[in-house]
């Protein structure tokens, strides 16, 4: 079973909200919604590695770090994300990273 890490992303949250709406209108069952989310987990986990080749560097101040149940959680402040063409500055970044095995996986907010 793939990481459910990506459910708390824009893509994942929008999917969950959409499924909730369908459940509200009783068009689908909660069980089916759960199955959809599981499929989403598989889909996005398997899509990221081969489809995304961008490289981004970031630097900031580490506010907190946590390693629990093989999951890293970082909170950074005043971070600068640098890609080849653009620079993005943010005040706070939360990074949740699971063991990538072959590839690293992480989500930020």
């Amino acid at each position: 079973m793939a990481y459910q890490l990506y459910r708390n992303t824009t893509l994942g949250n929008s999917l969950q909200e959409s499924l909730d709406e369908l459940i509200q209108s009783q068009q689908i069952t909660p069980q089916l919604a759960l199955q959809v989310l599981l499929q989403f987990d598989n889909a996005i986990n398997s899509a990221l590695a081969p489809r995304v080749r961008n490289r981004v560097n970031f630097r900031g101040s580490l506010n907190t770090y946590r390693f629990c149940d093989n999951v890293w959680t970082f909170v950074l402040n005043d971070v600068e994300f640098r890609e080849v063409t653009e620079l993005i500055k943010v005040d706070k970044v939360k990074i949740v990273a699971c063991d990538g095995k072959n590839t690293g996986s992480s989500t930020t907010e």
Partner: protein, 383 residues
């Protein structure tokens, strides 16, 4: 050349992949294909709304995009899905080819994404009808734009939505911009909208009446002005008498017997004085020009929005009775039913603003929802 942004394509591919994967699941459960399509549309809409990716829509447009092209003399109905609206991004005038709705020659199925990042140009003569049955006729070319964020305050959309609008004769040229937030509101609350105004009554005003609107600064949403159709938002016409509800700065045009008014600025909110406050309620309604509201609803909505406008109440009360008969003529009984309910809500709502307000927030909220839904096609950007 800038680095290619992989996000839109990635999201699109993930969505497509997931939908394909669950297609069998849905079939096994005995769920219709339409539900799966709804899921996909909802999902795409929300991703668009989140602005997670600017190009998202562009890449997605092709499949669900259909152009709407309506000549002035042609009445077409645009049906929008209640679940979600998908609108081609960056497209100017979509072309509609749809079956006729009611008296209209053709009806078009238009899906508007809840959040449209770009203006949508709706040429005059187009009639939009939501799946819920709301009808909006665009008598005047309207540009529906979307603003980021949800228009929690209906006033905001209206404010932005309303812009000086030229005389009716200039309908084709004058294309007011609708606040996107209004659009969002309408789309997102499409469900509520449906519940609020189920009856597809269009408010039509005579051409002569419409001309009055032209004189007033108005924002024109996709004016639903098809025959026998009543726009909940109703056209605002300051000149109009008893059938029009006059709010400070806002004029409503009550339903008018169906008249072939190709040039009618079907849905227009005239903000003669202050483009802000009064415009607000309407803006939310006409968002995306997809919503059809009974004139009574308009009054109610305006009333609700015009928290500080006591004067609104009076005209409303007086106007509503007048418009009621008219609406009855053309609208379903449902509309009438809404009115009393709305009145109650309005009364409470108006009092809410005061210190002695004890009305429940739920009522207010529901009314607000209704109000937002009342105004069709107003795409008003938030302040």
């Amino acid at each position: 050349m800038a680095v290619v942004n992989p996000v839109p394509k990635l999201y699109r591919s993930v969505i497509e992949d997931v939908i394909e994967r669950v297609r069998n699941l849905f079939a096994e459960e005995g769920i219709e294909e339409q539900v799966l399509k709804d899921l996909k549309q909802l999902w795409e809409t929300k991703v668009l709304q989140s602005k997670a990716t600017e190009d998202f829509f562009r890449s997605n447009v092709q499949s669900s995009l259909f152009t709407l092209q309506l000549p002035h003399g042609l009445h077409q109905t645009l049906q929008t899905s209640t679940a979600s609206l998908v609108v081609p991004a960056g497209r100017t005038i979509p072309n509609f080819t749809t079956a006729e709705l009611g008296t209209s020659n053709s009806s078009a199925n238009l899906t508007f994404p809840s959040s449209i990042g770009y203006p949508i140009h709706v040429p005059a003569g187009v009639t939009l009808q939501t799946a819920s049955g709301h009808l909006y006729k665009v008598n005047v070319p309207v540009i529906v734009t979307q603003t980021p964020g949800l228009a929690s305050a209906p006033q905001h959309p209206l404010h932005q939505l309303f812009q000086p609008f030229g005389p009716p004769s200039v309908i084709q040229t004058g294309i007011p911009q609708l606040s996107p937030s209004a659009l969002q509101v309408t789309t997102e609350k499409s469900q509520r909208l449906d519940t609020v105004f189920p009856q597809p009554t269009l408010l039509q005003s005579g051409i002569a009446d419409r001309k009055h609107l032209g004189n007033v600064t108005t924002d024109i949403f996709v004016p639903p002005g098809n025959e026998h159709r009543i726009m909940s938002e109703a056209l605002l016409s300051q000149q109009e008498s008893p059938q029009y509800i006059s709010l400070p700065g806002v004029v409503f045009a009550p339903q008018i017997p169906p008249i072939d008014a190709n040039v009618e600025p079907a849905l227009g909110v005239s903000t003669s004085t202050t483009p802000t406050l009064h415009g607000g309620p309407f803006a939310t309604g006409p968002q995306g020009a997809v919503h059809q509201h009974t004139p009574n609803a308009q009054c109610c909505v305006l009333k609700n929005r015009m928290d500080g406008c006591d004067s609104v109440q009076e005209p409303r009360h007086t106007e509503e009775p007048v418009s009621l008969p008219i609406s009855k003529k053309q609208s379903n009984s449902q509309m009438d039913l809404h009115i009393p309910a709305i009145d109650d809500d309005i009364n409470e709502i108006i009092q809410i603003d005061g210190t002695g307000d004890t009305s429940s927030s739920e009522e207010v909220g529901s009314t607000r929802d209704v109000d937002e839904a009342d105004f069709p096609g107003t795409a008003d950007g938030e302040d």
